[in-house]
């Protein structure tokens, strides 16, 4: 990615959506960073309290739920950075310009999946509202709602990916990601 002013020709929605996704991304990654740190403190606390003979019953459960939130939230940041592993061998067989179209197609497939993922995730979170966790007696809605929230963030990033690649394809910028 090149820094500095971008004076190239773009779709009208390209710049605003780029700004929005970048803003969401900064918030997401820093928020999950804090969650990772809290999770670390909790597990260290669990070890120390066991040595002191005053174990809490909630440390394990809380750290598990934090892990779920971390995993699902960061998934959108991972999408943005192309960190999810995939076989890009066959794509490289295509001319550079047309790789943008494959990326768009793939993004649409993922959005299709995420649409259902968010729906059923939300449904199961709502149902889980009646159930409480064993140790914290927390409404299971809270750990489970991580799925739809993470799903929405992922869709936002994918929409950006589609627009970005469409923009690259039409204005013939330096080829795919």
């Amino acid at each position: 990615m090149t820094k500095g002013k971008d004076n190239k020709k773009h779709f009208f929605i390209y710049k605003p959506i780029k700004k929005i996704t970048n803003f969401i991304d900064v918030i997401t990654i820093n928020f999950t960073a804090i969650l990772v740190f809290i999770m670390l403190i909790i597990v260290l606390l669990q070890i120390i309290t066991r040595f002191l003979g005053v174990s809490f019953s909630w440390t394990e459960e809380l750290s598990r739920y934090l892990l779920i939130w971390i995993g699902v939230l960061s998934a959108s940041a991972a999408l943005k950075r192309g960190a999810h592993a995939g076989v890009d061998f066959f794509i490289t067989l295509f001319p550079k310009r047309y790789r943008n179209l494959i990326v768009i197609f793939n993004a649409i497939i993922m959005i299709f999946f995420l649409f259902y993922f968010i729906n059923v995730g939300w449904e199961s979170a709502i149902k889980a509202n009646r159930i409480t966790s064993t140790a914290l007696e927390l409404k299971m809605f809270w750990p489970k709602v991580a799925i739809p929230v993470g799903g929405i963030l992922m869709i936002i990033n994918l929409i950006y990916l589609v627009i970005d690649n469409l923009d690259r394809f039409i204005f013939d910028r330096n080829g795919g990601m």
Partner: protein, 330 residues
């Protein structure tokens, strides 16, 4: 639905236990026994109009996941242990320490009391789970790396692994032990390396998971009774014609008896034999010793449960138990 042999309805049942039976320890696995008998009786009783497919080894998901799948209809039934309270808090009433002096009393309460019938009915209305059989996963006992737990004083300051449940934590705290909530997957190593000193589980769990390799002393105190609950999706059940429903009730009842029988064989026969043969020291506490445990462990748990699931539910169970004891001549 009106299933016929030509147009059968499929019923999928999930459980954690393996299908292949560990012949070294036991001839049969009780969860598989329950599912197997149910399958055979339902399939023959409906002349194949209901096809029962078994999914052992937690291949569709663990206990909690299986119950969730039954609730949302992904599968029709499952055999679970210890997770129903997560979906219907009142179920935790069976977790009062030393509630049943023997499995026989537990069976009597589950099979004959009006209290239990009402509780099941309430659960069915609130969760859509129909408890078709109340099998037995076993009675939980204390084990320790280097000493017998004969009195509450023996537990003082000991790091005891418990399930991540407030009831278990409260019970251990009442004994002045140091309860360490821990996932079962970490238990063996933690006992081996001394992260924890002891644990509590039924004989079959100890035997099948070879915990005797890392625990030398077992006290058969039986502080908690735990279930192999066979729950099925109520909507599925209601969609079936009455004749089939009756076949299912009968099949489940017989499967339940077989399950309890197998568990009893485990915990009194081959399972216990295995533990002894492999060098585990086993102690059977006296009634007085058990009472000493009970007097300390019960009050905080009862108080907690009264608060959580209501005094009536707790009192009802205690009454059902004393009625059962009376009826059985205790």
């Amino acid at each position: 639905v009106n299933p016929t042999p030509d147009n059968p309805v499929v019923m999928r049942i999930s459980y954690n236990a393996p299908e292949t039976l560990n012949t070294e320890v036991v001839q049969w696995e009780q969860e598989h026994g329950l599912a197997f008998i149910f399958k055979n009786l339902v399939e023959s009783g409906t002349d194949g109009a209901v096809k029962v497919e078994l999914y052992p080894n937690a291949q569709l998901g663990d206990n909690k996941a299986s119950v969730e799948m039954v609730m949302n209809g992904s599968i029709q039934g499952c055999v679970e242990t210890g997770v129903l309270a997560g979906f219907y808090p009142e179920f935790e009433v069976i977790n009062i320490p030393y509630l049943f002096k023997s499995p026989e009393i537990a069976w009597y309460v589950f099979d004959n009391s009006e209290y239990w019938t009402n509780l099941k009915e309430d659960m069915r209305e609130k969760t859509g789970l129909r408890l078709l059989a109340m099998g037995q996963n076993g009675v939980r006992h204390f084990s320790h790396s280097d000493k017998f737990i004969k009195s509450p004083a023996d537990l003082k300051g000991q790091k005891m692994r418990v399930m991540q449940s407030p009831v278990f934590v409260r019970m251990m705290k009442a004994f002045d032990a140091n309860p360490v909530p821990m996932a079962f997957s970490e238990l063996y190593t933690s006992l081996q390396t001394g992260v924890v000193d002891g644990q509590e589980n039924p004989v079959s769990v100890i035997a099948v998971n070879n915990l005797n390799e890392v625990q030398n002393y077992l006290t058969l105190d039986g502080h908690l009774w735990s279930e192999d609950g066979f729950v099925i999706n109520d909507d599925f059940y209601n969609s079936l014609p009455e004749e089939i429903q009756i076949v299912m009730i009968q099949a489940a009842r017989q499967a339940e008896v077989v399950n309890r029988g197998i568990e009893t064989i485990h915990s009194s026969g081959p399972g216990l034999e295995k533990l002894k043969d492999e060098g585990m020291n086993i102690y059977v506490p006296t009634m007085e010793e058990k009472t000493a445990f009970a007097e300390i462990a019960q009050p905080p748990v009862v108080e907690y449960l009264q608060d959580k699931i209501g005094e009536e539910t707790v009192a009802g169970m205690l009454e059902a138990v004393s009625n059962a004891e009376e009826a059985l001549g205790y």
